[in-house]
Amino acid sequence: MRTAPTAAISLRGIHKSYGKNIALDGLDLDVAEGEFFCLLGPSGAGKTTTLKTVAGLEEPRAGTVSLDGTDMTGVEPYDRGVAMCFESYALYPHRSAYDNLASPLRSPRYKLPAAEARERVGAVADLLGIGALLERPVGRLSNGQRQRVALGRVLVRPARAFLLDEPLSHLDAKLRQAMRAELKAIGAVRRTTTLYVTHDSVEALALGDRIGVIREGRIVQTGTREEIWHQPYDTFVARSFGRPRINLLPGTVTADGAFMSADRFFEIPLTSPAAPPVRSVAPGTAVQIGVRPRDLSLGSPALGPGAIELVGSVYITEVLGRATEVTVRLGGQHLSLVVPRADAAGLRPDTPVRLTVRPESLLLFAADDAEGRPGRRITE
């Protein structure tokens, strides 16, 4: 793994617990200068705690936080020079939108002369389209407007890094999509190191220069969207991205190096010339084979020679707009795939179908262990 000489944000072995609950369990994270880094994970994985640890609002039990290579242990939040947008927005309810935006510019640390501050607030408000709302108390703003005020309070002053905690999660779908596009277009966000927390994989893929996946207080994998998508570290990462979810079928490795489904209904060769080489896996090892719904197609010809064929029958079809999600039964397993709507036109439950998949889009994982820990990927 390549690390920048001095990461803008660097966390090393962070441990944090609340009573008996372990929030962060030896978390390591590096965010490069100017990078937009998305931290993705389910709720309770430690995302917000990570942000607050960087900001100095939470003190880790062990581990170090460095900003631009400087150890931040014992440095107060107001001296760290980071700006944070809280998931709850944390706007000052007794003040107007203007006063909320101007708050950093009136503080001892970022103080600007009143006229300059007014100009700066006006510019940020116009950028976010809330110029007309400045005099209103924040209690009378809609959720979307409050979110913009919260974001504005982050953008209004210079910061070493932006920490954004699910800033879009409470907006309705349409607004969220619009804001997602706008967010990256904002110059300040483009230039400033940003650590962005989300539980929405689409958001992470759309925004992140790099993505980190967090689970139970540890980073499982960091990488570009391509790395995360094509080389997921384990089944947890694979499952975190893509809707419908990746198909994971349990089975074993046979003596001649093929995959045999758990109910011995079908076999997939793993050693074809086109398939990625498999790390030495002993025959009989319990594994899972992963294939993304959009990598599967109906019928044979499209994918050309070398494609793997599977035969099953239609279980259910679901129209998703232009595409259709088809769930196919392969013995005891269900496999979902997404095909153009026209291709799925004649399909009824129990229609026999032939599925094809390029061998290189198959992912092989170890079986999830007895405690439910996700299996690691074993294809290179």
Binding site: A55, P77, S88, A90, L91, Y92, P93
Partner: protein, 280 residues
């Protein structure tokens, strides 16, 4: 239909019960007003027909020209002592309540419980040693002594109630202030404190009433200099014959400050806390 009639009956019965309760609750006050308006010579008659007179009020407010009871002085004493006690409790209690709400430190719960125990221990249990202490320290019959001892009444109240107000406040508001570049002290004064204003108003009023109404401490720990209205009103009962009319007038006059205070801060009492602060 049947239910309608029954519902009406229940409503009437409820109204009747309420009226009965009001009569019961307000009767002493009505009786006091009547007493205070009676001329001294008709004091012990039980007729309701008498010529109302403001003589009692004149005597009470006339600084005891005739009775030798400096009631106005007691009144001022009460104001100084009660306001002083509430003020001191706010200065000490608000930061304490904030700390107790935000941080759990070693012994914090024990400390809070100890504070609360001042409220449920009867004042009489500590009054004798306090009397001796006050005599020796020169705090007996002084404003400082009274304000100090009233902390037993006002401080626990303010700390406990304000703690719950601060707990209801999202800590993220102060965290946002820290990241905006404010120090912890500024975050407290600029963000947390303004948001609990309604709470401060309510608890100050409550504490003021408790301090104002306190009887045992001024009874034992003051004699003339720092005596308050609660004890002072009783002075009219001494002497050759009890002057209930004067005591009643004094008591009614001493209701005025808490009443005025309650009316002025009424709007704070009903206003909700931090509406729209944090969506949840």
């Amino acid at each position: 239909m049947k239910r309608g009639v029954r519902g009406k009956l229940i409503a009437v019965a409820a109204d009747g019960a309420l009226i009965l309760y009001f009569v019961f609750a307000l009767f002493p006050i009505a009786w006091m007003i009547i007493l205070s308006l009676k001329p001294a010579n008709e004091l012990f008659s039980t007729y309701f027909s008498f010529t109302p007179t403001l003589d009692s009020y004149q005597t009470v407010l006339g600084a005891g020209s005739d009775e030798g009871v400096p009631f106005l002085r007691f009144f001022v004493n009460s104001l100084v002592v009660s306001l002083g006690a509430v003020g001191l409790s706010l200065v000490i209690g608000l930061p304490a309540a904030y700390a107790a709400a935000r941080w759990r430190f070693r012994g914090s719960e024990n400390l809070m419980f100890t504070l609360l125990s001042f409220r449920f221990a009867p004042e009489l249990t500590v009054i004798i040693p306090l009397f001796v202490l006050y005599q020796q320290l020169g705090l007996f019959d002084t404003y400082l002594g009274m304000i100090w001892v009233l902390q037993l009444v006002t401080l626990p109240l303010i700390v406990w109630i304000m703690r719950s107000y601060f707990s209801d406040l999202s800590p993220e508001l102060e965290q946002a202030a820290l990241l905006d570049g404010y120090t912890r002290k500024q975050a407290f004064f600029k963000v947390a404190l303004p948001l609990v204003k309604p709470g401060i108003a309510a608890v100050s009023l409550l504490a003021f009433i408790f301090a104002w109404n306190n009887f045992v401490f001024p009874l034992i720990l003051t004699s003339s200099e720092a005596q308050t209205v609660t004890v002072g009103a009783l002075s009219f009962l001494g002497g050759d014959r009890p002057k209930y009319n004067l005591t009643a007038a004094a008591a009614l006059v001493s209701v005025i400050p808490p009443l005025l205070l309650a009316l002025t801060i009424q709007r704070y009492l009903v206003r909700g806390l931090s509406f729209g602060a944090v969506k949840s």
